[in-house]
């Protein structure tokens, strides 16, 4: 009896220390941890986080009928807190019947064109970003959980190839900055690990909500590389790889970034 109890107790202790070791071993840092305390407070306080205004706008759009079908998102999906919970943690993903992955804004645009019979919203459009922020906000605090399968894996591998390849007039790769030199200072700015934990983000430099693509384009322009057009599949491939690197990290949407 006591021996069994002891064994049980020991097993519990081991399990606990194993979990602690696992947690301790995860040294990945969200961009949140590289920000000053003032910005962290701004992100944490829903009344101070400018991104929350867009989440509210997204909530209004969610309930507003649109397109030739005159249907709202809510007509089909009901309460977003239930139907959209966890959805953003596994995008980009391959929609039913499709042959390639789409990002979350791409999936929302599919519902616009196919289900609402409304026009596609252009990249960085305020309504599109607001809907995306509203949907992704329903997963705030949940761990990133990418999908797997032969097709999506191939796109992810393409994304990793882009991430590691040097490009642009400055001949740098994403990996050189975000893997090899993360935490160091580039002209006084701490280089983050490039985890896509907070998108769409409210970036102070933009004074606006913006997508991950917009952020990636900033980095491409910085190394004087040709930026892909905003609807290019390369961004989806890169995002798939970034989500894999950040697997298990918690979503923060809408994050604030400098």
């Amino acid at each position: 009896m006591t021996a069994r109890l002891l064994a049980f107790g020991l097993a519990l202790v081991f399990a606990a220390s194993y979990a602690a070791a696992q947690a301790g071993a995860d040294k990945r840092r969200s961009g949140y941890q590289d920000m000053g305390e003032a910005l962290q407070k701004m992100q944490d306080d829903d009344t101070a986080n400018p991104g929350m205004l867009f989440v509210q706008l997204g909530g209004q759009l969610w309930a507003k009928p649109a397109g030739a079908e005159n249907k709202s998102c809510a007509d089909c999906h009901g309460v977003a807190a239930d139907s959209m919970k966890g959805v953003a943690t596994r995008y980009p993903a391959i929609p039913q019947g499709a042959d390639r992955p789409v990002d979350l804004e791409g999936r929302i645009n599919m519902c616009r064109t196919e289900n609402q019979k409304a026009e596609r919203l252009p990249p960085e459009n305020r309504d599109l970003l607001s809907l995306e922020a509203y949907v992704a906000h329903q997963s705030r605090g949940m761990p990133i959980a990418p999908p797997y399968g032969p097709v999506v894996d191939a796109f992810r591998a393409q994304g990793e190839g882009i991430y590691r390849r040097r490009q642009g007039q400055l001949n740098l790769s994403c990996a050189i900055c975000h893997d090899d030199n993360a935490g160091k200072k580039l002209a006084g700015i701490v280089i983050p690990e490039a985890h896509p934990t907070g998108y769409p983000i409210y970036r102070l430099e933009w004074q606006a909500l913006g997508s991950l693509k917009r952020r990636l384009r900033n980095c491409l322009v910085g190394i004087r590389a040709e930026a892909w057009s905003l609807d290019a599949p390369e961004y989806v491939a890169l995002e798939l790889y970034l989500m894999e690197r950040a697997k298990g990290m918690k979503l923060e949407t809408p994050a604030v970034r400098p």
Binding site: Q167, G168, L170, K185, L186, A187, G188, R224
Partner: protein, 144 residues
């Protein structure tokens, strides 16, 4: 009459975009000036300090006090003129991959071997031959 200066400008622009002259590398250095003339250290300092021209302080720190935001991806430029000869510094700026194939420091006077360069910069070197000489002239003055 008014066309001439415009033509001169156009030709000037083309010259900047053209393939750079091939510098003569001897061991780990380029002993002679790319322009045949010495550079200007004061102009070189301004290039090194500039975020849009030299970009050096993205990665390096250096004795340029008015630039508060400096990098720490690379060694400080202070003392570079004591550690390296003028010719060694010139090769380092022209194409550091000749010294360290894996270096992250961009080759400032090379156009080949690059991928997906933005159209505005395609076929152009990061610095002109004159600018390289100005930077070298400045680095030589950085004795500890």
């Amino acid at each position: 009459m008014r066309i001439l200066p415009v033509l001169a400008l156009l030709l000037g622009a083309q010259a900047a975009a053209a393939q750079p002259v091939t510098p003569q590398i001897v061991d780990d250095a380029i002993p002679t000036s790319l322009t045949g003339r010495p550079g200007d250290a004061a102009r070189g300092r301004a290039i090194v300090a500039s975020r849009s021209t030299g970009l050096c302080l993205l990665c390096h720190s250096g004795p340029i006090a008015e630039e508060r935001f400096q990098g720490d991806l690379a060694p400080s430029l202070a003392g570079a003129g004591s550690r390296w000869s003028e010719g060694q510094l010139r090769l380092r700026i022209v194409d550091g991959t000749r010294l360290n194939a894996d270096t992250i420091m961009p080759a400032y006077y090379r156009t080949g071997g690059l991928q997906r360069v933005a159209r505005a910069f395609d076929g152009k070197t990061i610095l002109s031959a004159e600018q390289v000489e100005d930077v070298v002239a400045y680095l030589v003055t950085l004795k500890d």
